[in-house]
Symmetry: C2
Subunit: 350 residues, 2 copies
Amino acid sequence: MARKKNATLNDIASTIGVAPMTVSRVVNGTGYVSEKTREKVLLAVKEMSYRRNGLARNLKRQKTDTVGLVLGDISNPYSTEIANAVRERLAARGYNLFICISEHSANEDIGAFESLVDHNIDGLIVATRSNQEGDERLRSIADSNLPVVVVGRDFHHSRVDFVSADNLRGGFEATQHLIDLGHRRIAFIGAGFESRSSLKRLQGYLNALEKHGIEIDERLITGRKESVSDVPGYSTEKIGYEGMKRLLSLPSPPTAVFARNDFTAVGAMSAIKDAGLSIPQDIAIVGFDDTPLASHMMPALTTVRQPMRLLGQLAAEMLLKRIAIEDELERDERVLDCELIVRGSSVATS
Amino acid sequence: MARKKNATLNDIASTIGVAPMTVSRVVNGTGYVSEKTREKVLLAVKEMSYRRNGLARNLKRQKTDTVGLVLGDISNPYSTEIANAVRERLAARGYNLFICISEHSANEDIGAFESLVDHNIDGLIVATRSNQEGDERLRSIADSNLPVVVVGRDFHHSRVDFVSADNLRGGFEATQHLIDLGHRRIAFIGAGFESRSSLKRLQGYLNALEKHGIEIDERLITGRKESVSDVPGYSTEKIGYEGMKRLLSLPSPPTAVFARNDFTAVGAMSAIKDAGLSIPQDIAIVGFDDTPLASHMMPALTTVRQPMRLLGQLAAEMLLKRIAIEDELERDERVLDCELIVRGSSVATS
DNA sequence: TGCTATTAAGTTAACGTTAACTTATTTTCT
DNA sequence: AGAAAATAAGTTAACGTTAACTTAATAGCA
């Protein structure tokens, strides 16, 4: 038996002998309908298990009450917290949220954009890492006047709002903290030196070193250039582990490490322990994000906390504002403070 | 300036003096179009930055090439791995994936179902925890002949396929492992005794105890009944911590703990350490899911690995099959093996 | 040369809904 | 009682697309 076709407004209307519009009124609770008719309609709706066709409805209404969110790394609590916060704020205002993942490539970014725009979402929030083709596509979407907000990444467009944590300052403070503890050979794990302009945390690290007159040693900046698409999930742990191994094999290894995020830090911690060294006595370590696991590590991980919920909330609000106000709007740009959370992995060891 | 309206096929067609259908043909690359016309159309499309209206298109085509995935706890790598696997498989077959989160309530489950169905998705994958109202709604969706697959949870419907890890067996083996190590007072953290029918892991635990003639002590089964909606993210860590505290305050505390998942286990580990006890000497512990952090704990956490990617892949394939074959299909049901990963948190301490 | 096949369009209608308007009936109020 | 207001519908057209069909011109071929 082939898939049975769903009943339409017309089907309902013709079986009970009213106009489709009347059924529409009942279903949507708008306009005038007599109690008698309403009941008749409701009965038929139930009987024929009618369900309105959202496509047709949205086509006619010219809006979908739906917002799209494109996430990069979905395995990261950073993303998921933002997603949750966004969803909550949107739900409170009657909007649905569709999430698309774009884990690996610019292609997938574009695919996600396309599929969301194809569904005529009312607005788009983007929290992926920046890349050229994706940005181009995004620019043309913004040009078409769809409300867009980007979170935690660079993107410049006069009609696109922007909200991010202050990664530059966060990276600076994390490094400064290690310097304050007396460290001079401080490594960075999670990206190569060439990422310094796009990765603010790395730039913050460099700034801190420079400020204190510590020479930058590129051998202490280690990441992985090749694609890591073969490693699903928290791939940054592996990068942290391998990066740390590499650092430990240097003629003069670092005494402290700033990792681009907590997962990288956790991987690095494992490598340090595997090498028979102890934290923070031999090597101090600082992460980024304050994921819940940071506080459960042994020793607990010093890290930089981002206000993820706030990021999500603000992003949602900026977008809702853009959706509500159809006029040209000033680009809104918010950079939120991070907070250094000092724990056992980086205490003074006189 | 109000939002400018997007150009339509008609706009393009009338400005260059062809029929809308011709433009449609060019845009979709179907049918016969002369090279000259094609170029003219393509130029206008670019000039007027035309973008097809997916709503209208899908309404006409009666399909969207889109699948919906409803996730419960998005903060859990279990969910995110499944999501990734599903997305990959679907993408390979030209389908888009829209993810909806339903973190807290039956209401949100239903909201997610509705918003996806409203967009006329071609199929639905559900990976939330079961609840009555949500299941009712899901049943009626399945009744309407929309292809549906559920992952990792109970749901019975003749047209709904099912794929899950063998949580019962996993729970059994985890507990059996602790028994084999000589433990007799084994606690379960993460749910109350009353969840035994819906939580297979707990049932597996109970079965193992029973098999070995160990009396079930309900005081050793601890969870949290109240809503945890105030705790975003990995809330189960908190449950683990608090549950463990409660267990340690018992007159005769357990010597081993089976936690419903790794996050709960990590929380419990912290509580054990905070109490000045050591793992596994004083208390052995086993988690579930083999999240990446499990291997990085100190000691590394023994846990039960679920084949998450496989779960996602199978779910996607089952759904695609249902979408492709419109005829009545036998309910497909797959239960996949888990694997016990023994690590430092549960070794023999003769 | 005539006949079929191919190419290149155009035309019509429908996907399922709702905004906007119209008509008819009932109620309310002075 | 009569006019204005409120209620209860129905009608029309459009949202933007494409499937299915038609028409017309050109190409291919025996």
